[in-house]
């Protein structure tokens, strides 16, 4: 799913310069390059797939097909899609439990993800992982982790492996504003900076760690500055604008590939739904959510651009919508009809 780099960061400072800075700078969308038609269409499609997939997952949860925890990515689509567009084949992705979007963006199949959500044998983990635990060696997706912050150390280990093998790959480790307060995040920052590991730490700041707003949970709410003590540069990014995300991703990846060590991207984003399906989200107002949806929605931004620039007609966009709906419907049908894992699976995959 990796795209060739386009819309290079003209007019911005080269990566080398930002590397020496430890203060954050911003990608607000205003100082980022426009996408060309292909990139905008690609981003639209990818984000829409995640949106519709998650809506369907929410529906299946309500119908009892999906159990346990189910954390939806709706609202944050631009983050993972923009990053994926900047990455190249071989770059690893690791994240926490709000992970369906990451899986789809890395190219893991909608059927496989949805069937894992319903706990069926055709799920990516044969039904044994669930919503929070899917992996794909082929797509370089390393999970899918349920312990808040653990994936940051693991992602640092992926970067360590790249460094050990002296290859050109970069590890992209996602975590939320909540995980950013975990101790092992800073243990990892220290080692990554010390050993100049090729890793992008992506803070998906969606403003709420479950029900606790960043204002109530953190002394330094500018997460891009969380690496200052380790000399890790940080960039604050408008995570609702896929162009800003990709531009920041391009810069961060170039930084890592140039051997300059880790970098932090703080993605300012927002989740529309509750923390998980069982969260009524009473810690924020409906108006707040509505304002984000109507003014900053990542998909609507691209849609408006496509129409405004004449890169797609309403009909063409409708055709894309239908395409996506077909994929999602197919995945949901598959996930509801696929059998549960054979009982013999209980005792497999414990040891090799």
């Amino acid at each position: 799913m990796a795209q060739t780099k386009s819309a290079s960061a003209s007019g911005r400072k080269p990566a080398a310069k930002s590397a020496s800075k430890t203060v954050s700078k911003e990608f607000t969308g205003k100082n980022t390059p426009e996408f060309g038609k292909d990139d905008d269409l690609h981003a639209y499609r990818e984000m829409l797939l995640i949106r519709r997939f998650e809506e369907k997952a929410g529906q299946l949860y309500g119908m009892g097909f999906i159990g346990g925890f189910c954390h939806l990515y709706i609202g944050q689509e631009a983050v993972v899609v923009g990053m994926q567009m900047a990455q190249q084949e071989g770059d690893q992705v690791i994240t926490a439990y709000r992970d369906h979007g990451h899986m789809l963006a890395t190219g893991m199949s909608a059927r496989g993800v949805m069937a894992e959500l319903t706990g069926r044998q055709g799920g990516l983990s044969k039904g044994k992982g669930g919503s929070m635990h899917m992996f794909s060696k082929e797509k370089h997706f390393y999970g899918g982790h349920g312990i808040v912050g653990a994936q940051v150390s693991l992602g640092t280990g992926l970067a360590f492996a790249n460094s050990y093998r002296n290859n050109d790959s970069v590890s992209v480790a996602y975590f939320g504003d909540g995980a950013a307060n975990q101790g092992q995040v800073y243990e990892s920052f220290n080692m990554a900076a010390l050993w100049k590991l090729p890793i992008i730490y992506i803070v998906e700041n969606n403003r709420y760690a479950m029900g606790t707003s960043t204002a109530r949970a953190t002394a330094q709410s500018n997460y891009s500055m969380r690496g200052v003590g380790f000399g890790i540069p940080g960039i604050q990014v408008d995570g609702m604008d896929v162009r800003a995300v990709k531009a920041a991703g391009d810069e961060a990846l170039a930084h890592c590939r140039a051997g300059k060590g880790p970098i932090i991207l703080e993605m300012l984003t927002y989740r529309y739904r509750g923390h998980s399906m069982s969260d009524p989200a009473k810690y924020r107002s409906k108006e707040e959510v509505q304002k984000m949806r109507s003014e900053q929605d990542p998909i609507e931004q691209v849609r408006a651009r496509l129409l405004e620039k004449g890169w797609a007609s309403e009909d063409e966009l409708k055709a894309i919508d239908k395409d996506i709906r077909d994929i999602v419907t197919d995945s949901a049908d598959f996930a509801q009809n696929d059998p549960e894992p054979d009982v013999s699976e209980l005792y497999t995959d414990i040891l090799l």
Binding site: K128, S153, A161, M191, L352
Partner: protein, 466 residues
Amino acid sequence: MPIDILMPALSPTMEEGTLSKWLKKEGDTVKSGDVLAEIETDKATMEVEAVDEGVIGRLLVAAGTENVKVNTKIAVLLAEGESADAISAEAPKADAPAASSDAAGGKAREASEETPVAAKVPAQPKVDVAADPDIPAGTEMVSTTVREALRDAMAEEMRRDEDVFVMGEEVAEYQGAYKITQGLLQEFGARRVIDTPITEHGFAGVGVGAAMAGLKPIVEFMTFNFAMQAIDQIINSAAKTLYMSGGQMGAPIVFRGPNGAAARVGAQHSQDYASWYSQIPGLKVVMPYTAADAKGLLKAAIRDPNPVVFLENEILYGQHFDVPKLDDFVLPIGKARIHKKGTDATIVSFGIGMTYAVKAVEELSKEGIDVELIDLRTIRPMDLPTVIESVKKTGRLVTVEEGYPQNSVGAEIATRVMQQAFDYLDAPVLTIAGKDVPMPYAANLEKLALPNVGEVVQAVKTVCYK
């Protein structure tokens, strides 16, 4: 009065050391803080500083002398006006062995620790050890410390596989906090022998991530007590990933380091984690006693595609055992070893628990009780068939370990033997474990908190109704 200068203890477990070098000679004036001598232990080379002022009246132990016991008088310091004649012609203690010519060469050497902590661990008695069927008959054996065996295992596997590396605190430039990684940095370089910051949770996660990416890390914990900070990564990330991924991705990693009580290091540094880790599906848990097992099983652990928790013991590090001289000596994980065959009762132990068991077996044989002693070697997967087979023969079972008694490894063995061999038991299974208390510091209390040979002997007599 002349002042005696004694051989100092430089670590909690030091019993003896090599007096490698005198930096003062007889007749020299010294003041407090002057370096008098260099002493090598199996762990480090340390300088001995003068505490008092005076003139060196006599050096009682020659430079290069090995195995000088702690508290041996090594020199005499004279106060002003005193004469060397005032020193009684007292020779060093008879048990201080003769000087060895190559010891003064500066190369750190292993001190022979026949009895590392006399108060705690019984001396290795002469038990006719049964041959390990995994070692070909007639193989030449070389006396090796557990420490050297572990180092050799890592070095051999690192030569064999470029993906194997070792990381941990002080593993590289310091040569290992307990010198287990001695020489590895010199042979393999800083890329593969990696000093980490003091950051167990973080570097355990880094290790697991590297393993998920296909490397084969050996993560050394300075002690498993510190691995408590990292236990989430060991269990939630390393052990469960294979299952959670439906078999797609696992973590071929070894977590190793000293486990359990050393000596006089108090409650937070003295816990045995064998039963903790042995509860976790997705982990293998190895806990060797002999140097041969340490070597053969560590090599197997490094090659194993699963996460392996490899529990060592600081007190065993300096002990010598025969290790087979083979090009590639790998033992199977999950297979117990019959340490001594017997007919009257079975003792099952592992790791340092074996030191009590071996001594008890010797005492019991003097009383006509012929014990079969099984060294479990691997706690998970557990070789229960070997235990059951023995119990079918003897009808009596005692387990020995240093860990806490509740939910101990012995309790698990007792349960399973009760379920699977009930009809063969002639007496209830007795489980000897550490006492149900945090480890006390005071020497007498610490001794009480640990198992002892007398308890094991008594337990075997009890199950034999003698």
